[in-house]
């Protein structure tokens, strides 16, 4: 009259194994679930009972108690339905105890006994290790990507009862091929003109440098940013798995293979709430946009329109690559190692035609606008690039620009050079390593000294410029041992060029 079934729960973006214990014994007919379930699990009672009855089985007229162990962890979600149903059937001796040995069950039940997908199957299966897993058919791709044991697919509870009762072999379901929703990655060759912004994208992709595009409306800031994921190399398997886990936990659609092996591109709207960008929630912690952009690009269009609180909350993930979301009942770390790309207008009026003297904004309006983005956030952007409206000749030019393939090859070579040299992206070169991995030649040193002396560059900016210059040198020649004057000049141009736009002190 007792059964113990393996299942798993999703906490944040990681799975945790859970043992579903079922006891069916004497007493008034009742059905209770213990072990800190939330409302969605308590509702499982009605779903499971209906599903079992719909599958042609009897519901015990006895006292049914379910315990979700370990019981001190708060649990949520409808993914226990299948495990509970199987547990009840084992406890009432419809199924044998041996038949469920070495199997774990994840899935939600419909009242008609159908098995439905839940979010977070990938991290949950991942946490179950070697055991075979039974999952809904629709979750097959993500489960197969992470599973170490066999992945069994079921469509209905009755089918599962037949298989476990040795009436039939495991069915051979294949999830119907879904239309691929992933839009083809936009190509760099479609960008006309904009040599500086193109170069900035290349540098950002190669060194992982956060980038801010500033330009009048219609200058192509969004179009540029959307080309960035194509320049990033495909994700290595470890990183791809991390991303897949987060995307699965958030319940967003995965590619047909189940594995997210391209860098994600997330572009939340500026009205998005703190929770949707950073992650969180009151009981259930869901990954936010920063985590969905893990190993990819987080694009904030019109960054000045985002609430200051949301922008300031980005500082910690930008620094640590992880978001720590704390709630009264749960503390969760979510991965959030992303490349930040943002776009904004130079001023509220959009800068007129973009030339000097074209802006019609009042001083006070300009000040308010530039204050919307705090100094610490502006400081995070290694590359601050003015984007001008392309000339008509450039728009009409028929000669295509360099394509993504060509640029991505240079990016890959530069990333490899960085990886071999210091084992990390150039963005994360430690200050004490700069002289070793990014030595300056004498001309380059003179340029930086001049900028520091004329107070146009701050001490912090100095280190950031050196990292960007290292990336520029890597792109120019992956074998370059030292950083030349032209590399530093270009890095400076991209760091200090817009210092008058952001009145954040004198030095950049």
């Amino acid at each position: 009259m007792f059964a113990s079934i393996s299942s798993a729960v999703l906490i944040g973006a990681v799975g945790q194994p859970i043992t579903v214990e079922v006891h069916v014994g004497k007493g008034l007919p009742a059905f209770n679930i213990v072990g800190l379930p939330d409302e969605s699990i308590r509702e499982a009672r009605d779903r499971v009972r209906a599903a079992v009855l719909s599958s042609g089985q009897d519901w015990p007229r006895q006292r049914v108690t379910i315990s979700l162990a370990p019981s001190q962890e708060r649990k949520t979600g409808s993914g226990f339905d299948l495990a509970i149903a199987v547990g009840v059937l084992v406890a009432t001796e419809v199924l044998t105890r041996e038949s469920v040995e070495g199997l774990a069950f994840i899935g939600e039940l419909g009242l008609d006994g159908s098995v439905r997908p839940v979010r977070g199957v990938a991290p949950m299966v991942g946490t179950l290790g070697e055991s075979d897993v039974v999952v809904p058919v629709e979750s097959a791709p993500e489960a197969r990507v992470v599973a170490l044991g066999k992945v069994r697919l079921v469509r209905k509870l009755s089918e599962l009862v037949d298989v476990l009762g040795l009436q039939m072999p495991w069915p051979d379901h294949e999830p119907s091929a879904r239309p691929i929703l992933v839009a083809p990655v936009a190509d760099m060759s479609e960008v006309h003109g904009q040599p500086l912004a193109r170069l900035a994208l290349e540098i950002a992709a190669a060194g992982g440098h956060h980038t801010l595009f500033v330009g009048p409306p219609g200058s192509g800031k969004t179009m540029l940013a959307s080309r960035l994921p194509g320049l990033l190399p495909p994700l290595e398997r470890d990183r791809a798995l991390e991303v897949t886990m987060v995307h699965s936990a958030a319940g967003i659609q995965l590619p047909a293979t189940g594995l997210v092996d391209r860098s994600p591109f997330r572009a939340p709207h500026h009205t998005s709430s703190m929770v949707s960008v950073i992650g969180g929630g009151s009981n259930v912690v869901r990954p936010g946009e920063v985590s969905l952009a893990h190993c990819g690009v987080l694009f904030l269009d019109e960054i000045a329109e985002f609430p200051a609180s949301v922008l300031d909350a980005l500082r910690q993930p930008l620094e640590e690559g992880v978001v720590r979301v704390g709630r009264a009942k749960v503390n969760v770390d979510l991965p959030a190692d992303f490349l930040l790309v943002a776009a904004m207008n130079p001023c509220p009026c959009g800068g007129g035609g973009g030339g000097p003297g074209d802006c019609v904004c009042a001083d006070s309006a300009l000040q308010r606008y530039s204050r919307r983005i705090s100094g610490p956030i502006v400081d995070r952007f290694d590359l601050r690039v003015p984007v001008m409206r392309p000339a008509i000749d450039e728009l009409l030019a028929t000669e295509p620009n360099e394509s993504t393939v060509v640029v991505a090859a240079r990016v890959a070579a530069a990333r490899l050079a960085a990886e071999l040299r210091q084992g990390s992206l150039n963005r994360s070169i430690r200050v004490r390593d700069l002289d070793v991995v990014a030595p300056l030649d004498s001309d380059a040193r003179a340029v930086l000294r001049r900028e520091l002396e004329s107070d146009r560059l701050s001490g912090r900016g100095y280190h950031r410029v050196r990292r960007v210059a290292r990336t520029i040198a890597d792109l120019r020649d992956p074998g370059a041992s030292s950083v030349a004057e032209r590399d530093v000049a270009l890095a400076l141009e991209m760091r200090t060029g817009l210092r008058r736009t952001f009145r954040v002190g004198r030095a950049a």
């Binding site: 030339g355 802006c359 900028e451 032209r486 000049a489 060029g497 817009l498």
Partner: protein, 383 residues
């Protein structure tokens, strides 16, 4: 009862003028009618309702009961003794139309301010006077032109009159101050004791010291937007020749030009590129019949002075650019350029262009604003 100062001495009439000029919702017209038939002291008493007002003040207050209430409250809010000590502390003199120092040019003006507040020496207004005005959001070239005009006019002993605003106004005054023994005049839209914009504090102080800062508002008046168009008429009335250096299709400097035209003042405009928004207004002025002012000589001729250049032109100490750098300077001198345009036009890659620009910027040849590079000429440090 007469208000008394601490020492017991009676307050001068200027104290009441300073108080009245700062009353709530005070306008030139209201102030004129309040002061029309009464001494300032009696006008003050009438305005705050201490004595029965004469018919024209009574009519004014009857029309607007809220105004009457506000002015009654101003009796203590604008206590004449305190207003007077504020004037004394800030070194601001109060001039009524009866004062002999009141600028003679304004006496016949239909919209003359009944009271003027001055910080500095009004003797500056006795010389020949040219107004230089323009947009606050000027280009580098516009500011340089203003500075050059200011310097060269001041070198001829001509008083440069401007508004001490950002952009063209400030550059004109900086240029004028660079000439020895020049006496610039500024007409401002807030209290003459309060530098605005803040970054012009030093410039403001220099104008006060060498020339004079004039305002129709008493010390402590904040820089409200509505006051600035009003000061333009005073500026227009005070100058013999007005030159607009840069202006948008609409702007305060065009208001000044219109006011000046109404008063028969010669108007000059500096021609600018047809596609530059900062020159749209000045080019329109030229179409409408203003005289072009490509250099100061035209202005001097309009004043009836000969065009012999009394001031030496400034010496350029910057190392001359050569090679690719000279190309970059030449291109930027034609018009403002972006680094992308420069790399394309000069045939340099972006790295070389950035290198050249960084050097030129350091040597003081170029200046960057929002991604646009403009050349700095020999007047650049004043612009």
């Amino acid at each position: 009862m007469e208000p008394m100062t601490e020492g017991g001495a009676e307050l001068p009439q200027g104290a009441y003028l300073a108080s009245l000029a700062g009353f709530s919702r005070m306008t030139t017209k209201r102030l004129s009618s309040v002061l029309a038939h009464l001494e300032p002291r009696d006008a003050f008493a009438a305005a705050v309702g201490d004595v029965r007002p004469p018919p024209d003040i009574a009519a004014l207050l009857a029309k607007d009961p809220e105004l009457a209430a506000a002015w009654r409250a101003d009796k203590s809010a604008r206590d004449p003794a305190r207003c007077w000590s504020q004037c004394l502390e800030t070194g601001v003199s109060v001039l009524s139309r009866l004062d002999e120092r009141y600028p003679a040019q304004l006496l016949d003006d239909p919209a003359a301010p009944p009271v003027l507040f001055a910080c500095g020496d009004l003797g500056a207004l006795d010389a020949r006077r040219v107004g230089i005005v323009g947009t606050r959001n000027a280009t580098q070239r516009g500011r340089e032109t203003a500075a050059q005009f200011g310097y060269e006019l001041a070198s001829h002993g001509i008083v440069v009159v401007s508004g001490l605003a950002k952009g063209i106004d400030g550059a004109a005054h900086r240029g004028a101050l660079a000439a020895e023994s020049s006496r610039p005049v500024a007409i401002v839209g807030n209290g003459p004791d309060q530098p605005y914009p803040k970054q012009h504090a030093a410039l403001w102080a220099a104008v006060c010291e060498r020339g004079v800062v004039l305002s129709e508002w008493p010390p402590g008046t904040p820089p409200d937007a509505f006051r600035f168009p009003l000061r333009n008429r005073i500026l227009a009335a005070l100058v013999e020749v007005l030159v607009v250096v840069e202006s948008r299709e609409r702007g305060g400097s065009l208001i000044t030009a219109r006011e000046a035209a109404d008063r028969g003042v010669d108007i000059f405009a500096v021609p600018g590129p047809v596609d530059s928004r900062a020159s749209a207004g000045t080019n329109q002025l030229l179409c409408d019949g203003a005289a072009p002012a490509p250099n100061v000589d035209e202005l001097l001729m309009a004043l009836g002075l000969d065009n012999r250049r009394a001031g030496r032109s400034r010496v350029d100490l910057r190392p001359l650019p050569h090679g690719g750098a000279a190309d970059i300077v030449r291109l930027c001198r034609e018009q403002a350029r972006t680094i992308e345009q420069l790399s394309l036009l000069a045939g340099l890659d972006l790295g070389e262009a950035a290198m050249g620009l960084a050097r030129l910027e350091h040597q003081g040849w170029l200046r960057e604003t929002g991604g646009w590079f403009e050349t700095i000429d020999v007047w650049g440090d004043l612009g």
